[in-house]
Amino acid sequence: MTTDETAGADNILVIKNCALITLATGRRAMNLRELGLELAEVAANSIYYHFWGGLLRPSFADPEYQNDFAGWALNSLHDTRLAERLAIVDPTTYHDLEDLRRDLIDIVEDRIEESEMVPWARREQQFTFVESQIVVFDTEIRVHDPAALVDLLPSLSAGAIFYHFIDARRRNPESIDDFRRWLLGFGDRYAKLIQRIAGLDPHFGSLTELREELSRIFRSYFEWERQ
C-alpha cells in the first residue's frame, strides 16, 4: 500500500485488515553461537516477525520479554543477562532492519565473548526461525472525521490494529503509525492528539490492550475538546 492510499487524496482514512501466515525457514539454533550465525543469514522478514509476530500469537506471559530472542534467552538458555539486553532492543527505533540485525548480532557476540561457555538449549527447545507473509484486505470502512474513531476503534479487529499501528511503522517513510500520519494531514489541528498517540508504547501488551489504549486516548481527547 502506498501511504497516499491510507491518508487518501481527500484525507480519508481507509481502514484495512490483515492476516499473517507463518512459514518455516528450516533455520534453527541450539546454542548462542548458532543463533548469531543464523541471525547473520536469515531473511530480514524473519527478524521482523520475531519482534512483532508475538502480538498475533497466543501469549500471556513475560510482557517484559516481548521479542522471541529475549524470550528464548530467558526460557531456554536461562541467561537472564542476555535476555535483558535483548529485551531492551526497540525495533521501532530502526529504519532499516539490517541495522537491527547488526545490533542483535553484536549483543549475541558480546555475550559469547564474556561467557565461559556458550549458552545452549535442550534439543526440543532450540530456537526455530520462522517468517511470515501478510495478506492485507479492505474492510470497506472509510473515516473522514477523526472524532468518528471514538466509536469505531473499539470494534476494530486485532488484525486491523496490527496493520495500522504496527505494520504501518514499516510502511510509512516517517516510521509512524497510520493514525498519526492521517492526523498530520489536518495540519496542527490535532497536534495534542498526535502527541498522546506517540506516547503509546506498543511493546508491553496485547493487540487488544493496544486497541483499548488507543480508544481511551481518542475518547478522552474528544471529551476534552468538547469541554
Binding site: M1, N17, A19, L20, I21, T22, L23, A24, G26, N45, R57, P58, S59, F60, A61, E124, T128, V130, S132, Q133, I134, V135, V136, F137, D138, T139, E140, S155, S157, G159
Partner: protein, 411 residues
C-alpha cells in the same frame, strides 16, 4: 449471513465472520478440492466435514473427495504413518506396489477434477502420490501433513518425500515438524470445533448422568486425563502423580480413552494401567467407544483439573478441548502442548509425575486459581484454537500462494 456461519458467529462473534467474508472475496468461485482417505473417523475427516461447507458458504466451490483402497493399500499407509512418527519398520516391495497401484487407480478416477482445480489440498501420506499422476496441473497443489514428522524413520520419509517435494507448498502443525522440502512450508496449528458433540455446551442433567454412571463423587476434586491408552500419553505417570498428590489432598482420577481394542500395544498399556490402579476405587479407568463424544465432553466438564501428561505429543487437541471448558491443564512440556498451555497462566507445564503431583496439590489448595486459569484458558482457545481461525488461515494461505511468494499481498 446464513447457515453454518451464523451458528459460528454466535460463538466467535460476528466480527470474526465478517473478516472471513472479507478475506474470501479474493477467492470467490475458485474450485478447491480436498482429498483424504476417509469420510468418517479421525481428525482430518472431522475438520473437513465442517471446513468444506463453511468454505462453500463463503463463496468458494470447495469439494471433498476420498481415495478408495483395499486392505493391502491401507496396511501400507498405516506402516508409513508409524514410520513418519519415528517407528523403525521394514516396508516390503509388495507394500510399495500396493501403494503405487492404488494411487494410480485413484488418479485415473479423479484426474479431470484435480487437473482443472484452482487449489488442491492433499491430506496426509495416503493420497500424496496423486500429484505425480496429474502432470498437467492448472492450479496450486498443497500437501497438508497432520502428523508429527519431526523425527521420521528416514528410509520411509525419503520414499514419500519424492512425492511431497513436487507440491507447490506444504502445511505443518508446528515449525519443529517441518522437513526441508524446497518449497514454502506454511505453519497452521489444528483447531477444535466448538459446535461438535465433543465441545458443545451440555445440559447439567446430562453431566450429572455421567457422574452417576461412572460413580464419581462431586464432593471431592476430580482430575481427568482423556487420551488413547498409549505409552507416550504416560498414563502410568498420571497414576503415580495422583498417588503422590492424594497423600495431601482428597482426589479422584479418571483415565478415559478409546481405541485400545484393535491395537495390541494399546491393549497392553490398558492392562498395565489396570494393574497400576490396583483396584483403587478412586481411579476410574474408562475404555470408551469411538463415538462417546458427549461422555468425553461431560468428563472434561466434571473435572476440576485436566491432565495431558504426554511425554511426546503431536499437538494434543484434548488440551484445547479442556481449556474451552474453562479447565486449567497440567500438561507435559512437549510438542504442541507448549503452544496451548501457557505456563502459570492457562495451566502448568511439567516434566515428571512429581511435577504433576505438585501442581495438582497447588491448584486444589488454591481453588481460586482454577477459576482464573480456566477463564484465561477459554479465552486463549477462543482467540487461537477454534475452527474459524483455521478456516481463516486456509483462506490466507490460498490468497498467499496464488499471489506467488511475495512477502506482502494486498487486495
Amino acid at each position: 449471513m446464513s447457515g453454518m456461519l451464523d451458528e459460528y458467529a454466535r460463538v466467535v462473534g460476528h466480527d470474526v465472520i465478517r473478516e472471513l467474508r472479507q478475506l474470501a472475496k479474493a477467492l470467490q468461485g475458485l474450485t478447491v478440492v480436498n482429498v483424504n482417505s476417509t469420510r468418517e473417523g479421525g481428525g482430518v475427516a472431522e475438520i473437513l466435514n465442517r471446513l468444506v461447507p463453511l468454505q462453500r458458504e463463503l463463496g468458494l466451490n470447495s469439494l471433498w473427495e476420498t481415495i478408495a483402497g483395499d486392505a493391502p493399500f491401507f496396511a501400507s499407509t498405516k506402516t508409513f504413518h508409524n514410520a513418519l512418527q519415528g517407528v523403525e519398520t521394514m516396508v516390503p516391495k509388495s507394500m510399495l506396489d500396493a501403494f503405487e497401484q492404488t494411487t494410480q487407480t485413484n488418479a485415473e478416477r479423479l484426474h479431470d477434477l484435480l487437473k482443472d482445480a484452482d487449489v488442491v489440498f492433499i491430506h496426509d501420506p495416503q493420497p500424496v502420490g496423486l500429484i505425480a499422476r496429474v502432470p498437467e496441473r492448472r492450479g496450486k497443489w498443497i500437501w497438508r501433513c497432520h502428523i508429527d514428522v519431526s523425527h521420521p524413520y528416514r528410509p520411509v520419509w525419503k520414499y514419500l518425500r519424492q512425492y511431497a517435494q513436487q507440491y507447490d507448498a506444504s502445511v505443518w502443525h508446528l515449525a519443529a515438524f517441518a522437513q526441508p522440502m524446497g518449497h514454502p512450508q506454511y505453519l497452521i496449528p489444528p483447531s477444535i470445533d466448538p459446535l461438535a458433540e465433543k465441545n458443545v455446551t451440555l445440559d447439567p442433567v446430562e453431566v450429572d448422568r455421567t457422574v452417576e454412571e461412572h460413580h464419581l463423587d462431586r464432593g471431592r476434586p476430580i482430575v481427568v486425563q482423556v487420551s488413547r491408552f498409549d505409552r507416550f500419553k504416560d498414563p502410568l505417570g498420571v497414576i503415580s502423580a495422583y498417588r503422590m498428590a492424594k497423600k495431601y489432598v482428597p482426589l479422584q482420577l479418571v483415565l478415559a480413552g478409546g481405541g485400545a481394542s484393535d491395537d495390541p500395544e494399546g491393549a497392553k498399556v490398558l492392562e498395565d494401567v489396570n494393574t497400576a490402579a490396583n483396584g483403587d476405587p478412586d481411579i476410574h479407568v474408562l475404555l470408551l467407544p469411538p463415538d462417546a463424544h458427549r461422555t468425553i465432553n461431560a468428563l472434561q466438564r466434571i473435572a476440576d483439573i485436566v491432565l495431558q501428561k504426554s511425554t511426546r505429543e503431536g499437538f494434543g487437541l484434548t488440551v484445547s478441548e479442556a481449556m474451552w471448558k474453562e479447565k486449567p491443564v497440567i500438561g507435559g512440556n512437549v510438542g504442541g502442548i507448549r503452544l496451548q498451555v501457557v505456563d502459570y497462566q492457562t495451566g502448568f507445564l511439567v516434566s515428571t509425575p512429581e511435577g504433576a503431583a505438585n501442581r495438582i496439590r497447588y491448584l486444589i489448595r488454591h481453588r481460586e486459581k482454577i477459576g482464573e486459569m480456566g477463564a484465561k484458558a477459554h479465552r486463549l482457545v477462543l482467540e487461537n484454537f477454534l475452527l474459524t481461525r483455521q478456516l481463516r488461515d486456509y483462506l490466507t494461505l490460498m490468497v498467499a500462494i496464488r499471489s506467488g511468494s511475495k512477502e506482502r499481498i494486498e487486495f
